[in-house]
């Protein structure tokens, strides 16, 4: 099926070259691969249709090519074969790999500039801009589905346990106390759980508590960054999970999104989850719920810092066979996606965040956050205070794999096979091996 389409596309391009009459009808195809599913996928597909209807020169073709890691493997193979998609959606953890291989992509700022399309990186909310831009302000990839981690609370279980859902726990000691009370009064099978363990308990946790993940400004200063997050505050968090899992105040729910099921089934009273999961929770949970910021340790930090973004961004591949016309189409399509109204629609439909200040203000002006309590929690948490070097994101090669190392080591700690400190020591040791290997592998690439 795909081969045939490629042939058709090739025929269309050939037609363009030799027949001016046809040129007016033949549209230049713009391919984009995405790795999201569910409501987010449906929305993006819809925008592509609208883009195609809005003009006659280009045809955006959005395809789901497997979840993020599979899609990335497929796109990299296509790149090596000389024919990558024009645009690829890359998850947060892959950002460091892409930054380390600058020749593979064209910065979004440059794509827009070459095509003469108005584009202002400064219009993006700070954490998203920082995460995806170079130090000189050039934006490498277009932030699209932006999220951060927040805590969802099942109001019904809280009430049943004698807790006040309108005063959600703010700190970790309060969360643990609430979880214990829920267990003691048997209001639920488990107190709290979390999705995406490394993202919430290591990455978000470190940003909020203003703790570094590594030397070299969390990897933004260079590929020679050395991981150093095996310290007491981070170990205490793991130890807390291990201790709390004894009486099911905490229940481990797997490495990815599976813990979400524990929350919507009413098994767990609290869930730390991506704000992008809001729509799915609203749809599936048969109870009232509220949204609270990520908890923090008051003895580590009095005023918690901003959390960091997750989600994914859109990258433009650089390939030798790309014509100026194609790049113009890419710029047009990205500009279409980057309109405030698109971001607003996407945010409303999915629970992801408005990526630009303009989109956020539009939603505020419309009164969206008054009507949808809790939907502003993630964006307020993301933009509170002045970001520090530790809360401006990170940039590491092979971070996908290092996240899994953290998962594996923490899982071993949860099984009682090692201490929390050993889990972190092992993660750091193995992670640094991977970083050094990555540093060597891209050594001659730049």
């Amino acid at each position: 099926m795909h081969t045939r389409r490629t042939l058709l596309a090739a025929a269309a391009v050939a037609g363009l070259a030799c027949s001016p009459a046809l040129a007016q009808q033949a549209r230049t195809p713009i391919s984009m691969w995405i790795g999201v599913t569910g409501p987010a996928q449906e929305e993006i597909m819809r925008y592509a249709q609208e883009f195609n209807a809005s003009q006659t020169q280009f045809e955006a073709k959005v395809e789901f090519r497997g979840q993020y890691p599979e899609q990335r493997a497929a796109a990299f193979a296509a790149f090596r074969a000389g024919n990558p998609p024009h645009i690829m959606q890359m998850f947060d953890a892959g950002t460091g790999d892409m930054f380390a291989l600058p020749r593979a992509t064209i910065p979004v700022s440059e794509v827009m500039q070459r095509a003469g399309v108005q584009f202002d990186p400064a219009g993006y909310i700070g954490p998203a801009r920082g995460y995806y831009s170079r130090p000189d302000g050039t934006m490498n990839s277009l932030p699209f589905n932006v999220s951060t981690a927040v805590m969802f609370i099942n109001d019904d279980i809280f009430t049943k346990a004698g807790l006040d859902p309108s005063k959600p726990p703010r700190t970790w000691p309060e969360v643990i106390a609430a979880a214990n009370q829920i267990r003691e009064r048997n209001a639920a099978e488990c107190g709290f759980t979390t999705t995406w363990l490394a993202w919430t308990m290591l990455e978000q946790y470190s940003a909020i508590h203003d703790l570094p993940l590594s030397t070299e400004a969390n990897g933004r200063g260079g590929l020679n960054a050395v991981l150093n997050f095996n310290d007491a505050p981070r170990a205490r968090m793991i130890q807390t999970l291990v201790d709390a899992s004894r009486n099911k105040a905490f229940q481990y729910g797997g490495r990815s999104n599976d813990a979400n099921a524990l929350f919507v089934a009413g098994t767990c009273a609290m869930l730390i989850q991506s704000s992008g999961g809001h729509a799915a929770i609203a749809r599936d949970l048969k109870a009232k719920f509220s949204v609270a910021p990520m908890p923090f340790w008051p003895d580590v930090i009095a005023e918690p810092k901003n959390s960091i973004v997750g989600g994914a961004s859109l990258w433009v591949f650089n390939a030798p066979n790309r014509s100026a016309e194609e790049l113009r189409g890419v710029a047009q399509f990205l500009a279409f996606l980057a309109r405030p109204e698109t971001y607003v629609r996407f945010a409303k439909a999915t629970g992801f965040l408005p990526a630009t200040n303009a989109a956020f203000q539009t939603m505020q002006a419309e009164g969206f956050f008054q009507q949808n309590a809790g939907r502003d929690v993630p964006i307020l948490q993301l933009t509170r205070g002045t970001p520090t070097a530790n809360s401006s994101g990170y940039r590491f090669g092979r971070w996908t794999e290092i996240r899994d190392m953290y998962h594996e080591e923490v899982e071993r700690a949860l099984q009682g096979q090692q201490t929390a400190q050993a889990a972190l020591d092992n993660t750091v040791r193995r992670g640094n091996d991977a970083l050094r290997q990555f540093e060597r592998s891209v050594g001659a690439a730049n």
Partner: protein
């Protein structure tokens, strides 16, 4: 063995062979060659920087405690699956051999799991062992066993072991039964007249005569456990929790596809190639003996 009488055409045989040779070259030899070549390289995920590093990847892989632990786990798992599928199969075959009526119907039912994809078999057993709702997990919980394959590595291993072995029992059963039925009854009866007890008779006469079948099944089941259980593990545990169900194939897949570490994944592929070659040679050595009557 060769035919004496053949057709004289010179070009035709090449045409007949062409499709298979073409596919073999393009989809087997080319990527296998690539795997060997890539195992000697250090490169970034997109191939901008390619450095020849000789055997460094092999050295790194074979010195990595995690890899060695996975190798050890893979062997234990493979022998576990083999034992768990062959022993019940042998017992069932011995029993079925004594039954005159209904043997065909038994065969039909027992062999059904063999037709089921490993990943589907994994899903069925995962469901039975699902901590909160599983039909087997529920009584376990009632008698006070805190059962949770998502958190406990041993529990996870038990699920993938059982699912993988369950699928093979029927297959082993068929071969054991065929083996038993080919043993002349007179031999066994002679032993019975000598007064040998039933169990003793089995171990001293029947089992040795079955040894070609047993050996053959041993190789087949080890190969199955090594290579074909990827589906069970990928679908059920994804190698976790921790690394407690990660086997060699899963690690090669993960390192190559998810971690994009092309050199070390390829080195693992080459190591696996040696293992397959070893298993194939053993298998054919044995078959040669069997076929050369």
């Amino acid at each position: 063995m060769e035919r004496k009488v053949v057709f004289p055409q010179k070009l035709l045989p090449y045409l007949l062979l062409a499709p298979q040779i073409a596919i073999t070259l393009v989809f087997f030899f080319w990527p296998a060659g690539q795997a060997i070549w890539m195992s000697t390289l250090l490169q970034d995920p997109l191939g901008f920087s390619v450095q020849f590093v000789g055997l460094e990847n092999f050295q790194a892989v074979l010195q990595d405690p995690a890899y060695l632990a996975t190798m050890q786990r893979t062997f234990l798992f493979s022998f576990g699956v083999t034992a768990l599928s062959m022993i019940p199969a042998l017992l069932l075959a011995v029993m079925a051999d004594r039954v005159v009526r209904g043997a065909t119907a038994y065969k039909t039912i027992l062999v059904i799991p063999y037709a089921i994809a490993p990943a589907v078999a994994g899903a069925l057993w995962l469901f039975l062992f699902q901590p909160s709702i599983g039909t087997i997990a529920y009584p376990l919980r009632l008698i006070g066993i805190d059962w949770n394959p998502r958190i406990d590595g041993t529990d996870a291993m038990i699920v993938v072991l059982i699912a993988s072995a369950w699928k093979q029992i029927g297959y082993n059963f068929l071969f054991f039964l065929a083996g038993l039925q080919s043993i002349p009854k007179s031999l066994i009866e002679a032993a019975a007249i000598d007064g040998a007890r039933e169990i003793r008779r089995f171990w001293t006469i029947v089992f040795p005569l079955l040894s070609p079948t047993t050996f053959f099944l041993l190789v087949v089941n080890l190969t199955y456990a090594f290579f074909d259980t990827f589906g069970v593990i990928h679908a059920v545990t994804q190698g976790g929790p921790g690394k407690s169900t990660e086997v060699l194939i899963y690690k090669a897949w993960y390192d190559g596809l998810i971690a994009q570490d092309l050199g070390r994944s390829s080195a693992q592929a080459v190591i696996l190639m040696f293992i397959v070659i070893g298993l194939t040679v053993i298998q054919f050595r044995y078959i040669e003996r069997k076929v050369h009557y």
